[in-house]
Every structure is written in C-alpha cells, then in structure tokens.
Symmetry: C2
Subunit: 339 residues, 2 copies
DNA sequence: TTGTAGGCGTTATCAA
DNA sequence: TTGATAACGCCTACAA
C-alpha cells in the first residue's frame, strides 16, 4: 500500500500539498493538482482509514442500532436497514451494524461511541421508554431516532405519523360508509415491549372511532382467528384495519376465504380492509389491499440527514412526523369515499 | 475523553505499562496491574479506535457484503446478517454492512479494504460467477464466502450441502413410497442470476430422481398455480419438494386447500411435502411441514472463524459443506420412511 | 518487571 | 501557492 508520502515524492510536492489537493481545503494550482492526481492514480493511492480517523477525529462511520429479537419483522428490518445504509453511503458514510438487544445494545453503543469509532448513532425499533435514548444524551453524541420515544428532549426523531395514519384509516372507512370497524393489531408482545408505532396507532384508532361514534373492536395477531374474535365483540363488522405483520394479514384473508367473503372485499355490500403502516407491498395480496404504508427510504434518509447535521455542528432536537399517504388497491368500498 | 497518557499519570506508571497491562502482551506485576485498572475505571478510559488501528494495523472490523436486490428474501437476509454479526461480536469484531449490488458492491469492498478499514470480508448471496470473488483474491484480503462460487481457488467457503439436501429430500420421499415428485423451485430470476444454492438444489433433485427412476417435474415460483403446472407435466403426483420462499410455500398450500388436499398432507394415501433449505420456520405452516433447513448460525460462525483464521496468519482455501439435517413435522407419509 | 522512544499515515497550523 | 512539522493516541521493539 502506498502512502501519502509516496504520492508526494512521485508528484514532486510536499505531503501537505497532496493532502490539500485531495481534500480541497486550500487552493492548489491547476498544474500541481493534476500532477498529484496522476501520482494518485499511478500508485493507486487510498488514504489510510486509521490515520485519517486519528488525525481528523472524524470516522465517516455511523452506528446503526437495529436490535433483533424474536418479534422483529424481517421485511421491515431489511427495508429500514437498507434505507439507512443507502442514505449513509450517499453521504460517504459507512455503517456499523449493531444487532444486540437491551443491555447489550447499550453496551455496544457506548463502546463504539466512546472508542471514537463512529461519528453518530441511528436508532431503529425504539420503544416508549428506551434505555438507548438517555444513553445517547449522556454520551452527547450526534444521533437520530427512527420512531418516537417518550422522552425526546434534545433528540432528533423521524417517523411516519402513525396516529394520523390510524385516523386516516378510520376516516376513509367512515366516509365509505363503514360503521363497525375491527382492528387487528400487532402481537401482544409488541405492545408489552412498548413499540411506539404500534401503541400510537392503536390509541389513535380507538380515539377516532369514539369521536366519530363508530363501533370499534380490537384484537392482537398472536393467534389465528382474529376475524372471529372481533366478530364476537362487535356485531355487524363491516371493515378491518390491519396493523400487523405480513403473515397475520394472510391469516385474516385465509379466514375470510373460508366463508367466501374475500371475494366481496371492497364491494359496495362487502367488507372493507386497509393495512396500517406496512413496510411490505400490500398490493400483492389476494385481493390486493389498500394501505397507509410507512416510507422507509424517507425515514432512513431523514434520520441520516438529521444526524449529519449535528456532526457538522448543528443542533439536535427536531421531530419530523411525516404525513401518511394512502395507497389504493380497491379493498375499501366506494374507493374509500373518494370515488 | 481521557487517553492512555492520563491513565499512566494517574497510575504512576509509564504509557507502555498501561498498554501492556491492558493487552496482556507482557507480564505486569499484580500491584501495578490493579493500579492501572483502578485508573482506567476512574477515568472511564477507552482506547481510541483510530489510534489503535493506526498503530496496530488491526481494525477489529470486518465487512459483510450482503447485496440487497429485488429478489432478496427478507427472512433469509435478516437471519444470516444476524448470525454473522453475532459471530463477529463473539470475537470482538464489529461489522460494516455493505448492501450495494453488482459493481457498486465491488467498489465498496475495494474501498473498505484498500483504505484499511476492515480486517476481512464476508460474502453473502454469492452467485456462480461472482465478481466479488476474483476481487477478493486480487486484494489478497482475508475472506470467507457463504455459498459456493464456481471459482473457489484460494477461497474459504461454507454452506449447507444443498445438493445433498435435495438428494435427501428425494430419498426420504422415495423411501416413504412416493414415485412422482414435483419440485417448486425459486423464482426464475434466481436461477438466471446464478444463485448457487438454488442451482445446486435443482440439479441434484433432478439427478437423484433420474437415478432412482422416479417421475420428476420442475417449476418455478414466479406465479401462483405451481401445483397445477406440475400436474400437467406429471400425472399421479404424490409428493412436493418446495425449494422456494415463504410466500410461495403459502401459495402452494393455498392451492391444495382449494381442493381440500391439505388435510391429507402426510397421510398414507395423501400428498407428501418437504421444504428444501428454508431459513424460516417450516413448523408454523398449516399443516406444519417437514424440512431440510439451512443453519444460518453455523454458516455465519464458520464464516467468521475461517476469516479470522486468515487474519491470524492462517491459510485460506477450505470448503466446508455441512450435512443437511431433517426436521420432521409430519408432512411426509410414513414419517419419511422411518416410522 | 518497567521505562524510553520511534513509528503508524493523516490533518492542520504556522511560516515562507 | 507551497512546505515543514507538530500533533493525533496507541503499540511495540529495545533498553534498563
């Protein structure tokens, strides 16, 4: 491996000139610059990461804390991880992936931060009272949170507005003439863990139904039979909101299939269905389903931008809850009150 | 942030003594060691990553090249990524995740290697003629491949023996008395890309059926209707081998459900089904399915071990194809010829 | 058992 | 516009 010294010698200039020619942090004559560039190419020079980090106190690396536990949805995990790494690479950053949970997650974060391995930390999969949040604050490291922890003083957060998403689902169903709405929520464990997107969605769903005087029932997607469970507590059910994983959506459709009701999804006299906040494609079900999907790319790139803003000396504390948008596939009657 | 200098001063020893006390690379008296440790705790000292990397030419970081394209299975991706990061952490290594595909994947790899950011590279999702393989060889960097590229001279590879897995599926079905076997393979795109596990499985399936004089038919899982397609080309179908994604497995079961055949899966006169090489749980289907699953933890930890062996000066070139093992859930009649 | 000191490859300050 | 040179923080021969 050739070093900056070799480049300097070959280009007939000093080391510092090479450094500046490459970083552009001070002006260099056109002629020297091209001599330096030629030498760089000839020697296939690449600045050494360790030396650069030591001298500049910038690593061009950020940590992504993406804890993986039994209830992690693979599709969501993958999509968000991809979005964050993509956004990071767009800004010439690499990503160190930390997959531990709970205490081990905190230990990993403190290790990479306090050894100076990373310039900042992105948090995925946050819960209401997330131990990583006070940790990041204590460490005083640039950071961004995908999700909405309770305690967000001084934190930068980004997420879809799941409350608004739930209200949007209810509103459209109501506009379409539905009056008895059942929610198939996440597995109970997610609420117990306090995953904020799930909690926010469910609460807003109930609030909106109450405010509109609609019948509402709620169940979780731990076991099959969600449709039957909802029907026992709410008669005349005419719409479903599915805030659950891909597989649970399939189970609901299977249940409807047994009675042939799946053929009437979206029909004037049939059931209406909408999926809340999926990170998978709601159009590939049979029948295709309307949805209010999250936007992982937006979440990821916003998180990275918020983070890098702090690295460059900016301030933190900004919460970006972006508006949900509706994706129509015809599973809500009357086109969701708009047709 | 306190440095090794602060620790040395506080402990009343020299810098090198602190270094040695912490690394254990030379003996230190019990008394000084404890004084050093006390100082480390008091100052919350953590060695600086950049400095350590620069001085030691070891980064304790490895790159995981896990290209994400449209056909990537989320569950498999997640499981393997987790396994690799877990194994790396067990060896005090961090993982830089590279998600780009094709040329961009190669560029990322050469960047992190030639800047000296990583000590080695793990490859996931390799295809037969994978451009990353010759690249790694040219770079002369420690590496390990999860999968089996054509050209593996000087490479360390690990994977389940998918050929043997396919033969095992056929053998058990044959032992159970099945004579007409249909394979639902991966989407065509995976074969076109040359993903080795898919190709190896399919070829071995066909070979084994031929050698045993069994009827065999093959289709892909691009579109629903796999069962019907197989039946048009093979009459009297009595067994299925499913080497495909989770969703495609569901579709096959749905198809059988329409005719009520799903109730006879595994029965003496019914259909037999086995899933080849899944990284998802085959027991959660209805009915639960027998399978010959991959072992992502084994693949990941073996890959990391092979890699770190090279970092410590060992040699490369070793191919570990571990034997498949059968997971029984009752979807093959006669218990797979063993009951 | 411990200390001294050179070097790792950059960046950035200070002169020129 | 350019060049010396002092950090950056740690590791590790070499000495004692």
């Amino acid at each position: 491996m050739s070093t900056i010294k070799d480049v300097a010698r070959r280009a007939g200039v000093s080391i510092s000139t090479v450094s500046y020619a490459l970083s552009g942090k001070r002006s260099v004559s056109e002629e020297t610059r091209s001599r330096v560039e030629a030498a760089v190419r000839a020697l296939r020079y690449r600045p050494n990461a360790g030396a650069r980090i030591l001298a500049s106190a910038r690593t061009q690396i950020l940590a992504l804390s993406a804890p993986m536990h039994d209830h992690t949805y693979p599709a969501a995990f993958m999509t968000f991880v991809r979005a964050v790494t993509q956004a990071a690479h767009d800004h010439d950053y690499d990503v160190v992936l930390l997959t531990e949970c709970d205490d081990a997650a905190c230990e990993s974060i403190s290790r990479v931060v306090s050894t100076g391995l990373v310039d900042g930390v992105v948090l995925m999969d946050v819960v209401g009272e997330d131990a990583r949040v006070p940790l990041l604050r204590a460490l005083g490291v640039p950071s961004a949170v995908i999700g909405l922890p309770e305690d967000r003083e001084g934190m930068s957060c980004v997420d879809m507005d799941f409350g608004r998403a739930a209200r949007m689902c209810v509103a459209r169903l109501a506009d379409a003439g539905c009056v008895q709405i059942g929610l198939v929520g996440q597995p109970q464990a997610l609420y117990d863990r306090g995953l904020t997107f799930a909690v926010r969605f469910r609460e807003a769903f109930q609030d909106e139904c109450r405010e509109r005087g609609l019948g509402a029932a709620v169940t979780t997607s731990d076991a099959p039979g969600a449709v039957a469970r909802l029907r026992t507590s709410l008669h005349g059910l005419d719409a479903f909101v599915l805030d659950c994983g891909e597989y649970a959506v399939e189970q609901v459709l299977d249940e409807l299939r047994e009675t042939g009701e799946h053929r009437l999804v979206g029909a004037a006299q049939g059931l209406s269905i909408v999926v809340g906040g999926p990170s998978f494609d709601p159009g590939r079900f049979d029948p295709p389903l309307d949805a209010v999907p999250v936007d992982p790319v937006r979440s990821g790139s916003t998180a990275v931008s918020l983070l890098l803003g702090q690295v460059d000396g900016g301030t933190a504390e900004s919460v970006e809850l972006y508006a949900p948008s509706w994706v129509r596939h015809g599973s809500v009657r009357n086109g969701g009150g708009l047709a």
